[in-house]
């Protein structure tokens, strides 16, 4: 009898410890707030209207704003990349025989190389799609012709490889529904692997970039590549070490007419953040939100305490620009100042 009591006590302790551990693991990445900025810099491109920019592996990448364009020329910068002090360098993308070159996305590889994706055509109408690595001279050094795959988004994967989210297009210009949407490329061997079929996903992937730029986001860390689709309410992640592709459901966001994703980041620890702009009320609101998952794998966007408030009048987050791995990089106002802030976790 005494022994049974002792066994029960041990069993109880094991269960409690197990539950506690489970609880800790679920809560370990939950942000409790952001610290005061430990660095800031001025970026004119952040203050200017239009264009695309985000922070990726040491650089603020900016394109399709004043000085660059989606439709570039041989001597027109395709992308500007700025270091953390605001010093910028141009990247030029042009191909021999091209009459036109377009830019779709830009990123930085794990070994610090700038990469650009897009499409190009000749005067005769020959179309090719590309992922280009930019050399130290700011010009194209290596190219992957991804045709018939159209690389909508790119990010730098392990060992200098490139991950891309996109779709196939046939010779008549139509999308190929059965084509895998997530692919890994290298500049030496072309495509290395392909996965993620639209038939296994919720509706909401027919528009490659969503209803507005920012509704679908893709990021790479040293350990995984992730895609969040705010339209289909799904989080897709491929783990580099386990080679497992997972698709998780996320609680739907309000429609774009009420709420928009204005920034996105995935830290080295795998924590996923976004900034939202909520215009559903008379006073527009903004703030930082974190995507967390329960034990069942269902995701939910949770406000980071102390970050949600009236847009430009209370919230310390105007927009999330990205992450340097551990800090969140964001703006507070639309004055071009960018801040680096650590986030606190429990």
């Amino acid at each position: 009898m005494k022994r049974m009591k002792w066994e029960k006590a041990v069993l109880k302790a094991v269960i409690i410890l197990g539950l506690a551990k489970q609880g800790v693991s679920q809560q370990s990445g939950v942000a409790t707030g952001i610290a005061e900025p430990h660095h800031q810099a001025q970026f004119q491109t952040v203050a200017s209207d239009g264009g695309f920019r985000y922070w990726d592996k040491g650089y603020l990448l900016a394109w399709a704003f004043s000085g660059t364009s989606l439709d570039v020329g041989p001597n027109t910068p395709a992308v500007m990349f700025y270091d953390q002090n605001g010093q910028g360098k141009p990247a030029y993308v042009w191909f021999e025989g091209a009459a036109r070159v377009g830019v779709a996305d830009a990123a930085v590889t794990s070994n610090g190389k700038l990469i650009v994706s897009g499409g190009t055509r000749t005067q005769e109408g020959i179309v090719a799609h590309y992922i280009a690595e930019i050399g130290d001279d700011g010009r194209v050094k290596h190219v992957i012709r991804t045709t018939p795959f159209i690389p909508v988004y790119i990010c730098g994967g392990q060992g200098g490889t490139v991950w891309s989210y996109g779709f196939d297009r046939d010779e008549n210009g139509n999308g190929i529904e059965s084509g895998p949407m997530l692919r890994q490329f290298s500049f030496e061997n072309g495509q290395l692997q392909a996965m993620l079929n639209i038939s296994s996903l919720n509706p909401g992937w027919s528009l490659p970039e969503g209803k507005y730029p920012g509704e679908i986001n893709m990021r790479c860390t040293a350990s995984s590549v992730g895609i969040y689709n705010g339209r289909s309410s799904e989080w897709v992640q491929f783990d580099f070490s386990t080679k497992v592709l997972t698709v998780k459901q996320v609680d739907p966001l309000p429609p774009p007419s009420k709420l928009r994703i204005t920034g996105f980041a995935m830290t080295d620890a795998g924590d996923i953040f976004a900034s939202f702009h909520d215009r559903s009320k008379a006073t527009p609101m903004s703030g930082l939100f974190q995507l967390t998952f329960d034990a069942g794998g269902n995701g939910k966007w949770n406000p980071v305490p102390g970050t949600v408030g009236a847009y430009l009048k209370g919230s310390p987050i105007e927009r999330l620009i990205g992450t340097d791995g551990t800090s969140l990089i964001h703006t507070r106002a639309r004055d071009g100042r960018v801040f680096w802030s650590k986030y606190e976790k429990r």
């Binding site: 992957i144 018939p148 639309r334």
Partner: protein
């Protein structure tokens, strides 16, 4: 005399051959290009044929009617041959990252079936134009919305 001629002939032969070999059949690129399958290419356009939708007359047609469908399964608008995105320039009074662009925008209703291949789901697709002479609409831009299963693009002001 004979001993001098032979080396000169050999030298001339080597020179001519080396020149012939070094003359490229096409201008060499300063970058390497690999196809999706891993094959090295001399040009990014190697082995590809012109696409009907990227020919000049078709591009002009798309541009003239602003055939603005941007799904995976139809031709997009801006940079139609590339499948690339358009510029979401922010306009005055609109929140950040709006897919909102331009100024002096005027909405133009299109007849059923024009600008969209689905007149049932999208009976009233709008186009737009810009009228810089009308200062009252200086701060009016255009913004896309979508309708129908094929996601036709409908312009609205912002």
């Amino acid at each position: 005399m004979k001993t001098r001629t032979v080396p000169q002939l050999i030298y001339a032969f080597v020179l001519v051959v080396s020149l012939l070999v070094s003359v490229p059949t096409r201008a060499a690129t300063s970058y390497s290009t690999v196809a999706i399958g891993g094959k090295m290419l001399e040009s990014i356009f190697d082995g590809l044929t012109p696409s009907w939708f990227a020919k000049q007359n078709m591009l002009q047609k798309f541009g003239s009617v602003r055939f603005r469908q941007r799904t995976r399964f139809s031709l997009p608008d801006t940079l139609p041959e590339f499948g690339a995105r358009y510029v979401p320039v922010q306009c005055v009074g609109c929140p950040p990252t709006e897919a909102c662009s331009g100024h002096f925008t005027k909405i133009i209703p299109l007849p059923p079936g024009v600008g969209c291949d689905n007149p049932i789901a999208c009976p009233s697709v709008n186009n737009f134009t810009n009228d810089p002479s009308d200062q009252t609409i200086q701060n009016v831009g255009e913004q896309n919305s979508y309708c129908g299963p094929s996601c036709c693009v409908d312009a609205e002001t912002c």
